[in-house]
């Protein structure tokens, strides 16, 4: 063995300069292949004239500039989808934030069967989205909806009743009910995660701080608005960031529950991109629709991270 070999480089496991890149490689490959490449393709597609029948970009004349964006912008359905995406997200997140706060407070209290209730609350999050949405699809079925059945039983639905005379509500068949249903399922879906995040935030508030507030004579509401909520703000921003991005990009709910209907009234950008690009075959416009989300999401993410950091400094 040569004398110049340093002791600590004899084994592979001791060579940081080799090991570092080696361990990072899978992550880099993963991100490039599954995030980077599709993103680049999407951008290329959005500025080209590719279709499902002719997906090749072979030369300069395949690029059409902003034509796709102009085309989708002038499309009424796109505008509807854009408005729906924003409205559904905002409404559902306001509800989620409200309910998650209440739920987290309740669950942080000591009571019998707390573990079971926590488990039940988390359940929707563990269900695959498509499966959960299928469940709702059945719950809201135009003929066999159990909700309708219950309403009929208690005399809310049917001839000579407040919601009658029809025997069904047609939850997914009328504009406002269908939109409400989509929002409801969004709430059902994101509430568990938001609750758990907030619960973690609540638990992280030191016992001493709550005790001090007790000693200082602050009642429930004063503690809530002056101590708990301000201290929860950073983690609430994180929960909201997650939930907004989930809600904004969600395809499954609109696709499985309503297929965008009735008459595109529950169409969102993600589902419209799917219908246009994959089902309609217009890959280029589909990509343009999907890309429309990107700057918004980036802006939201940056804003939220900033907020979280600022609030984090406050409490540090």
């Amino acid at each position: 063995m040569s004398a110049t070999t340093t002791r600590d480089e004899r084994y592979l496991m001791d060579r940081d300069r080799v090991l570092g890149p080696l361990f990072l490689l899978p992550a880099v490959v993963y991100i490039l292949a599954l995030v980077g490449l599709p993103l680049v393709l999407a951008v290329l597609y959005a500025f080209s004239d590719v279709t499902v029948a002719d997906p090749r970009i072979s030369g300069r004349d395949d690029f059409v500039g902003f034509d796709n964006f102009r085309a989708i912008w002038s499309d009424n359905v796109f505008r509807k989808a854009l408005r729906n995406t924003v409205v559904f997200t905002l409404i559902s997140q306001v509800i989620v934030l409200l309910l998650a706060n209440i739920l987290a407070m309740v669950l942080s209290a000591d009571f019998h069967g707390k573990r079971l209730v926590r488990f039940l609350v988390l359940l929707p999050w563990t269900t695959p989205v498509a499966l959960g949405v299928l469940g709702w699809f059945w719950m809201l079925d135009s003929v066999y909806s159990p909700i309708d059945w219950m309403m009929r039983e208690v005399g809310l639905l049917g001839p000579d009743t407040p919601f009658g005379p029809a025997r069904n509500m047609y939850w997914l068949g009328t504009t406002h009910l269908a939109q409400g249903a989509v929002i409801l399922v969004h709430v059902w879906r994101t509430l568990p995660l938001a609750t758990v995040i907030l619960l973690a935030g609540l638990t992280a508030i030191p016992q001493d701080i709550r005790d001090a507030a007790d000693i200082d004579g602050a009642g429930f509401w004063r503690q809530l608005f002056y101590i708990r909520l301000p201290l929860l703000l950073p983690i609430m921003a994180v929960a909201l960031l997650f939930a907004i991005i989930f809600a904004f990009t969600d395809l499954t709910i609109a696709l499985v529950l309503t297929r965008g209907g009735p008459v595109n009234d529950t169409q969102v950008l993600a589902s419209w991109a799917y219908f246009k690009g994959i089902q309609g075959g217009n890959l280029a416009q589909g990509a343009a629709i999907a890309l429309f989300l990107l700057p918004v999401l980036v802006a939201i993410a940056i804003a939220m991270l900033r907020l979280a950091r600022r609030a984090g400094e406050e409490t540090a």
């Binding site: 001493d208 001090a212 007790d214 000693i215 602050a218 009642g219």
Partner: protein, 366 residues
């Protein structure tokens, strides 16, 4: 620190009393507080002293209403407050962590209890000024807690406790997060402060120096029971049992076995030079084996063994080591300085003075 005029028109002076207070956290384990009865006087500075985990904080939290006693009564100003929530007890508490509200500036931290009490704006402002000038933090009112040093945080916590003009202060190791130097001056300030406002104060610490320096009286606690309650002088000079004897003093009291009893004497009671006329009736003669010395500047410590038990003597640094053969040196202790303890129970025999003693045995019969 400046000391502007204090409000002295307190409507209620408060005595705190606990009667046979017990707190059992888990059904199986030993109680954290096991039958503690104590009583403060008006305006007293009472220190709860004991090793970590002995139940001091639990006792304090029960007095403050943050913890429900398993059994026993708590009285504040002669009223049983067991079922009163903390805010109805007219107490203020300073936590070991200070528990400042991290998102509020100093002004809002201090005024928080006043806002909760729905005082009007002018009164709040005036009280904040008053408390912050007493504690010398009026320059810091717009800072956030994270922008403060440990000592400043401690003052803010005190100010927040002070503005409410409580009947009782409860302090849980408020100086333990300060560095040694700052702690000594804070201790001094705290004492001056407490004497001026004259509010009954219960102060928890595991630091005997703090306890001796601050307390009007000290309650020495171990394993959830009071071992002794008395003035610092009584506790030090006339320990009720071997626990108190060895918990206080640094180095603590020496305990050697003689005639079936434990004989205790303080390191500073040891004489290296045998006194003239040192007859055995007033002086105890002992031989220290394996003696070695540790020079500490103003004094020195002599370590050694008697019958295999470690013994420490403290003498002036200038005292010459006596000639010794094989590490053995003769020492003498005035019999007046001896404290005799029962070997089995550890309790003091023939108490030398009328020190208030609350040893476990007496508690049980009370």
């Amino acid at each position: 620190m400046k000391h502007p005029t204090f409000r002295t028109d307190r409507d209620t002076m408060a005595r705190v009393e606990t009667r046979n207070l017990v707190k059992q956290f888990t059904a199986s384990g030993a109680p954290a507080v096991n039958g503690i009865s104590l009583q403060t006087t008006d305006g007293e500075f009472l220190v709860l002293l004991g090793p970590s985990g002995c139940g001091k904080t639990t006792l304090l939290r029960m007095i403050g209403g943050l913890e429900k006693p398993t059994s026993g009564d708590i009285l504040i100003g002669d009223r049983v407050v067991n079922d009163l929530p903390p805010r109805a007890r007219q107490i203020a508490m300073v936590f070991q962590s200070y528990a400042l509200y991290p998102h509020m500036n100093v002004r809002n931290n201090i005024s928080f209890p006043l806002k909760a009490a729905k005082l009007d704006k002018a009164a709040i402002e005036q009280k904040v000024q008053w408390a912050s000038s007493i504690l010398g933090i009026d320059q810091l009112l717009d800072r956030k807690p994270r922008q403060l040093s440990g000592g400043q945080r401690q003052r803010v916590a005190l100010a927040r406790a002070l503005v409410r003009e409580p009947n009782v202060f409860l302090l849980d190791e408020p100086l333990s997060n300060l560095d040694a130097q700052r702690r000594a001056s804070a201790r001094d300030e705290l004492q001056v402060f407490q004497h001026e406002i004259g509010t009954t104060t219960i102060y928890v610490t595991h630091d005997q120096v703090e306890a001796m320096g601050l307390g009007d009286r000290i309650a020495v606690i171990n394993d959830g029971t009071i071992r002794q309650l008395g003035t610092p002088h009584e506790i030090y000079e006339d320990p009720a049992d071997t626990f108190v004897a060895t918990f206080l003093g640094s180095p603590p009291m020496n305990l050697v076995e003689r005639d079936g009893d434990l004989v205790g004497f303080r390191p500073e009671a040891v004489e290296l030079v045998p006194p003239e006329h040192g007859d055995a009736s007033s002086w105890l003669h002992l031989t220290l084996a394996e003696a070695r010395e540790e020079y500490l500047g103003s004094e020195k410590l002599i370590y050694g063994e008697i019958d295999g038990v470690r013994v420490v003597a403290r003498v002036h640094a200038g005292t010459p080591m006596p000639a010794h053969e094989g590490g053995k040196i003769p020492i003498t202790v005035n019999r007046a300085a001896l404290r005799i303890f029962d070997k089995d129970s550890g309790l003091r025999r023939q108490p030398a003075s009328d020190s208030v003693s609350a040893s476990p045995a007496e508690e049980a019969s009370a």
